[in-house]
């Protein structure tokens, strides 16, 4: 029989993540909504609570807990603040290529700082020409002695202005079929974080543009083999990126359902709580079914990832399902709240705006269907 239960220890991880989210993350949400800026205190809290260390091996100062634990943490943090879950998931997107493809020197240099939050990471692949087809990027590199010179621009980069350790993808000036992944430090000459985006949701999670003007990168910062950089970034995006979005979406689904249940039990209509009305029960039942189904898809993929089995297709299916379900749940949550659902003092308005950003992040639902379609037809 298949065991679908979390272990006692995993339940404790959930409890720890929930305590952290409710006591340390929730207090920053109003500030994030008001200013759209990343609170310094939140970054310190994430580091102190070891949230950045979850997937980093113990020998490099991490916890080595793997991907189910990561998904649990993201779901619980997303339940309180999807914006915080998003920034956390993208920190891991910058960390994973170093864990998987870094040399011993690179791991020793970067991972201990990334585990404590002293260093903050991101991955920068997307450009104006697109993100889901990275072969179309225009950022280029050429060799100059032992160094690489990179020119180009990246857009829609989560943590662009917060990260100081960035994994970037560039195309060879000489051979457009060759790509390199580099570890870029923000103090390197020629690096600049430029425009800050103002998003409809995920407020307080930084998104922006990067510019590389004759950015000089020493050969020690080449990540993986020269010319094989596409594999480095895509392996992280396929599993870490999509898996992270599943965590954000599950958290948002849970938040929408909890807010709806609370409101439906308190709002009196026709002399009784609206939770007694079949039409409301039907909506909440759909939320519950979607959440349970999404968890099965997401945690199954995470357990495959923990076992070292390729899981990017499973995560594509889970990403599609959970983000679409979160968008639906946010709409239904607003509907259940009636007129109150239009008032910003009710969290469902934030959930509705966050849901709008959730879908396109890390690959749209259409792209997920392309991947799942190829998987089914293969």
């Amino acid at each position: 029989m298949i065991d679908f239960t979390f272990s006692e220890e995993q339940e404790m991880f959930r409890k720890a993540a929930r305590e952290f989210a409710e006591t340390e993350v929730a207090k920053y949400v109003p500030e994030m909504e008001d200013t759209s800026k990343v609170p310094e205190g939140l970054l310190r809290a994430l580091g102190k609570a070891e949230m950045l260390a979850i997937t980093i091996p113990e020998i490099y100062g991490g916890l080595g807990l793997g991907y189910t634990a990561r998904l649990i943490a993201l779901e619980e943090i997303g339940r309180i603040s999807v914006a915080t879950a998003m920034m956390l998931q993208v920190f891991a997107l910058g960390i994973e290529p170093i864990v998987k493809f870094g040399t011993d020197e690179q791991k020793s240099k970067y991972l201990p700082g990334l585990a404590t939050g002293e260093l903050l990471a991101t991955a920068a692949v997307t450009e104006a020409t697109g993100g889901s087809d990275p072969s179309g990027i225009r950022t280029s590199y050429r060799k100059d002695g032992d160094d690489y010179i990179v020119n180009g621009r990246k857009c829609f980069i989560t943590n662009a202005h917060v990260a100081n350790t960035l994994i970037i993808l560039a195309k060879s000036e000489e051979n457009p079929k060759e790509f390199c992944a580099f570890i870029v430090e923000k103090d390197m000459e020629g690096f600049k974080a430029t425009h800050v985006e103002h998003k409809v949701g995920f407020r307080g999670c930084n998104t922006g543009e990067l510019a590389f003007e004759s950015l000089r990168i020493p050969k020690e910062n080449l990540l993986g083999q020269e010319g094989k950089g596409m594999r480095v970034t895509m392996s992280a995006i396929g599993e870490i990126g999509r898996g992270g979005m599943v965590g954000c979406a599950l958290g948002l689904q849970a938040a929408c359902m909890e807010a709806s249940i609370k409101f439906a039990n308190e709002r009196i209509l026709y002399g009784k709580p609206i939770a007694k009305l079949p039409v409301i029960q039907d909506k909440i039942a759909e939320m519950k079914i979607d959440l349970e189904a999404g968890r099965l898809l997401g945690y199954r993929a995470a357990s495959m990832q923990d076992a070292g089995t390729p899981s990017s297709n499973e995560f594509a299916a889970a990403k599609y399902y959970t983000t679409e379900a979160a968008i639906k749940a946010a709409k239904v949550a607003v509907d259940i709240h009636g007129g109150y659902g239009c008032m910003e003092e009710y969290a469902v308005t934030r959930y509705y705006r966050d849901a709008a950003v959730l879908g396109p992040s890390a690959g749209t639902s259409a792209i997920m269907k392309v991947i799942v379609g190829r998987w089914a037809l293969s």
């Binding site: 339940e11 404790m12 720890a16 305590e19 340390e24 609570a49 070891e50 916890l63 634990a69």
Partner: protein, 265 residues
Amino acid sequence: MKIVVCVKAVPDPKEADKIKIDPETKTLMRGDVPFVVNPLDKHAIEAALQLKRKYGAQITILSMGPPAAGNIVKECLALGADQGILLSDRDFGGADAYATAFTLAKGIEKNGEFDLILCGMASSDGATEWVGPQLATFLRIPVVTMVNEIHENADREWLVKTAWEDGYRKVAIRLPAVLSVARELNEPKNLSFSGIIKARKKEITIWSISDLDVSPESVGFKGSPTIVGDFGTLETGRNVEFLEGTAEEKAERLVGILIGSGAIG
């Protein structure tokens, strides 16, 4: 220093609305509400951890409850305690505060020497505030309740501050002693992932009735002198009444309603 922290697994107070009372046995029906560490006991654990950081200490978590309470003991180990003991036996079931304190005292005696016993001043489900003082009585050591400050030192004579309705008092105590602590004492730390990892190697010992020097008649329901006579449900609700007339008439009517309801005298 050897510290024993007594903790209770209680139904999660956040889901208190799901907890019912069995009309026959007059005991709590937890349903599917999960156990959590009794919130005030977390302050006792934090106090023990602070003492450990200052002076070094061996912290033992002691709890009485069903096997499922083992998860709660494990959680306390993840917070930084060193070892856990769970007193678990069907005969311990249905215990009131007196029988609970008696059984815990027997567990403490079996565990050996101690310098300090800490517990939360009340549980979120029973809320009698009796276990700490009764524990001290059984162990024949001093007790201070509602402790919100501990001025300890390396000697065995400490000063503790305790809250009263109209002020506070400072009490000098000599160890070993029982302190039942209030939430104002400290700010408990959250569970941490690394704490959970460290707890993998920490042992939980389970003692049944045969491990303690007690008779079945002295523990659990049989050993409990408390009898629940009756209970009722407090009905609460809201009424809306629109007052008619001039401002003066409405004010007069409002004052009458407030006096009639007892809100003002």
